[in-house]
Point group: C2
Amino acid sequence: MILSVFYSRDTFLRIFKVLFICYTFAYPNFGFAQEIKSPDGHLVAHFSLSDSGEPAYDLWYKSKPVIKQSLLGFKLKDAPDLLSGFEVNETSQSTFDESWKPVWGEVKEIRNHYNQLMITLRQPKTKRLIQICFRLFNDGLGFRYGFPAQDSLNYFTIKEERTQFALAGDHKAFWLPGDYDTQEYSTITSDLSQVREKMKAAITPNVSQTPISATAVQTPIMMKSKDGLYINIHEAALVDYSCLSLELDDRNMVLESVLTPDVLGNKGYLQAPFQSPWRTIIVSDKAADILESKLVLNLNDPTQFKDVSWIKPIKYIGVWWEMITGKSTWSYTDLSNVQLGITDYLKTKPNGKHAANTLKVKSYIDFAAKHGFDAVLVEGWNQGWEDWFGQTKDYVFDFVTPYPDFDVKDLSSYASAKGVKIMMHHETSGSVRNYERHLDTAYKFMVDNGYNSVKSGYVGNILPRGEHHSGQWLVNHYLYAVKKAADYKIMVNGHEAVRPTGLSRTYPNLIGNESARGTEYEAFGGNNPDHTTILPFTRLIGGPMDYTPGIFETKLSKLNPGNNSSVNSTLARQLALYVTMYSPLQMAADLPENYERFEDAFQFIKDVAVDWDDTRVLEAEPGDYITIVRKAKGTNNWFAGSTCDEQGRTSSIKFDFLDVGKKYLATIYSDAKSAHFSNNPQAYQIKKLHVNSSSSLKIKCAPGGGYAISIIEIN
Amino acid sequence: MILSVFYSRDTFLRIFKVLFICYTFAYPNFGFAQEIKSPDGHLVAHFSLSDSGEPAYDLWYKSKPVIKQSLLGFKLKDAPDLLSGFEVNETSQSTFDESWKPVWGEVKEIRNHYNQLMITLRQPKTKRLIQICFRLFNDGLGFRYGFPAQDSLNYFTIKEERTQFALAGDHKAFWLPGDYDTQEYSTITSDLSQVREKMKAAITPNVSQTPISATAVQTPIMMKSKDGLYINIHEAALVDYSCLSLELDDRNMVLESVLTPDVLGNKGYLQAPFQSPWRTIIVSDKAADILESKLVLNLNDPTQFKDVSWIKPIKYIGVWWEMITGKSTWSYTDLSNVQLGITDYLKTKPNGKHAANTLKVKSYIDFAAKHGFDAVLVEGWNQGWEDWFGQTKDYVFDFVTPYPDFDVKDLSSYASAKGVKIMMHHETSGSVRNYERHLDTAYKFMVDNGYNSVKSGYVGNILPRGEHHSGQWLVNHYLYAVKKAADYKIMVNGHEAVRPTGLSRTYPNLIGNESARGTEYEAFGGNNPDHTTILPFTRLIGGPMDYTPGIFETKLSKLNPGNNSSVNSTLARQLALYVTMYSPLQMAADLPENYERFEDAFQFIKDVAVDWDDTRVLEAEPGDYITIVRKAKGTNNWFAGSTCDEQGRTSSIKFDFLDVGKKYLATIYSDAKSAHFSNNPQAYQIKKLHVNSSSSLKIKCAPGGGYAISIIEIN
């Protein structure tokens, strides 16, 4: 249902005479303003235009300021700026309310309900038009810029976007250093005023990184105001545009857009007509609402895929953790230099530690089949891993040629006979021209050999050299790879790609991304114990993360004596992550032998669903704890997960989400009394009890701990 | 036949004690030297190593210095340079003599005969090895650098190549301004000492240009010494490396290598083992020998194509000159902004001047069939030409979607029925990522519709932005497009691509390049009258040029009243170019209606061959005149062409190239007495006479004129 009200310029001016009076006191320098409200009336936003014709907006939640008057516009290259000198040309308001069903997701149906204000601005001196479209939902605001087709604005280059978020105070923030290449930082929790002093230590080494400034941060950024508002800022529908970061003015607490530059320092090459990605502000006085928000998805376009039957959530294991921990290698030899098509691997000396060999992969397939996993990821199967990294090597992989000890045909038929898929791995080493050149052949190879999903990787600096992981050039590439995958009915799980912005609504074969510090960092020194109490409020706002939980053996020296890392989590909490870290793609990342040591706990990983009809956030406080229950797709069974920080806590939950009158068997996987993420992570207990909709429970979570519950309907 | 002599280090040092004495006087600072001679002994080259371990070489022709002692080496980025501190590790000499048959060419068989000196140098401080390989032919010297596989030199980045050509004097030079993006300049003829003063005026506007410096020039550069030596410097086998230009030290008359940088300013990213392109010096005391040299082809690898039956020389016409002159348009509408897949051309207003419409193309096909042409080039057939240019537009063309008035299927079957091919046109607008993304689809579309050759174009600045037409990134691209074309049995004619370096030996489906100022510039203000007396000595040294001669109507205002250009050539000379400007791809570029006005002259274009068993350069002086006869493939018929500068002249030729005892009918197309390129270009005369091997002729060439002769054996 769409309700639209179009105002003519005259009517509009009459309305604004009234509005002008209303806002004169609040906005002494702004001679023009228009208001919209969210459908429930709790959120109010204004668009305003200063006397010098600068566009601005503000946002209020239950009469509290969320965003104070904040300027909008663009600096252009070799053309007059689009910052001021505007007058209102036309406005229209409309209402939209519709429900849609995601191909996969946390809930069966999503309501997309908003009031829209569309402003068309004209810059008389240059005869140029721009549009700003505001959509106010009950859970927040989205707005984007439009550049209509017009004679006076055709091709143009963005020097910088000026989108401000003037915050109402020195909020507590959960932030990552702004970086044009990586999101693999630990989240820093601090007041905004402390960002500057904490930045240097926050910028930990990465194989490709370009920190932006002393106060720049990434989106999604999560904040909490002193008066209890939870505020999340991100973007939605990042298509053919460069990724947004935020520069903090830490005297005035204003966040301002910083787009990722290309190699020439330009921020975007646009052709009108064009619409920018949405800038999003999710806000509530309840932290749980942030986690339940579907605003980012709603701001993406519905999918145009006609057939989505081939897109299926995946629970998988993989030949991966043993390389990450250093127990095995991706490479087949210890050569320091190879050339594809020239190096004859049959004449080289194997290093004896190559994991992706036919025999081992078969044992993983056996394990997957035995325990009901959909797929086995295999990394390091293809030639080129000896010098794939850090050389900005152009022709680094061809994505189709296996090492001598990996028998593609044999494994394909073996997996197929066992009802298991092998998950393809395409590491690009950042060499995207090379990847695009091989993409059709690589995807066709997958189809020919029965692979239906691919984990792609972009480790290291980008080729074309000087381009950034988050720039317009790469943003275009990632989506190109996803769209082309769809032509082959292939699902994509992109690692080191740009942070997601809800594009999986439009392209549901984008079933996962990394784009943050995943479990692999537990093997590189460890993640903070509170890491998983923050990620759902930050990185996951844009889309699912392939976090790869499920590490049972937390002392990594047991896998590789040279690795002194420990996983900063209890075993019970590793189970919880399958629920708290939403993804349609979930890995059981540990070695099969470690699961066999803890078969009772492993049962939860085997049981837990990866697609859901419903989701409830029962408890949440960013940086402290998250407790979520989800209803498995097409069943009456629920799964709960709870994660907490290094403090530990007692979780109190009610089972009122269950159907009244039905009986359920709950199996509770929780930390033992003595459990602790650092010195006693494997102490867990498993209890079974009957529950119904009037049950409630208190469950103790160890420091860095948590729990998981399967709640199965008893017929 | 290969004869190799390997010297051990000891033997080698003993030899050098002798050589050292010989060269002590000539090279006071060089403590080491080794000599090679050309098979005929006329050329002598030395490799030498200074006391500080700097590698150098020199070259002598019949005891005259061609290249004085000139340094060799590399500056590297983030690594010690490869300039000095070398010692000789190993040397070997060998002789090679073999004949090979080109797939197409100026002669049936080419002799590849040289003496080779291979030097392996070691830099003890860094433990790195490099190699320098010299091949001395009777017609000149080629040398290249090699980087053997080694632990101490793996991946490396070139900051600059230091290859000097220390000339023996202030030669007369035929040069173009050095430029990283374009070769479409008029050749300047001047002494080397005048390059600096003439540079500014020489840099005429181009849509993509990056002049290098006040004294940098391009290769191939042609020079003539005051004592009568003709010297040509170029490169051969440019593969995965950036294109060479030459910086002139105009006090010492030393040319030194300047490689094309990438966007970061680096000159090349290499992985050992690697071999650089060859640096070539063709030299003789006869100008004709330069034109007959096959040194550049000989330094390229033999083709690995097993089937070459699909590669055929092409004589073609095209829907092209009418757009070049401004009579018609490439675009279908006058819109200023279109988006592929979004702009609905069926709803737009045609501009009425779109040339590539079905009806017109059919008339061109009719004309081609009637007059025996192999193909019709059609430009502007596909959507996107409204704003293709100068916008660095990424998704500018898709190479498969025709304008509404161009019926692909209808035209394909129409052309097929008439025995004519349509030549595809892929203008990339420099957007090479976009081109590569569509390449398979575009080539497949060609195969599906019966096209077997493509003219590709790279007009405007390159995407990825900041890369240059002559850089390593693009050099890699052009060859990628040619190799992939071979997979589809497609021949490529690349315009605005890097200047050729003989790669057509290895990839004979590369049947042409533009890469210089072609006939199109006659419609943009004109080419110098001596242009075609120089190009065979410069641009054509690297490979054939799609010069597109055959303009009969030289006053372009007759095609388009707004075009005041005149073709700076007589009509008779336009015919000569089919012989003097060697190419397996020859266009008759004028409109069919203009050929119908001059049917007697047109007969030569219809008769002339495009593939040859033999070639003789009868007269030649760069910048003044060239007279060539060629024997048509598989026949006893010969075709002669002569072109001269703005002075005019009388050409004297002997027919002693004809078989003794055979009779021939010569049809001579020459300038009329009153002809002149500027005020009477269309005055020509046609005479027929019988000739044999003892005949001789004097033929008057008008200023900017010339002649053509067909010499047909009488059975």
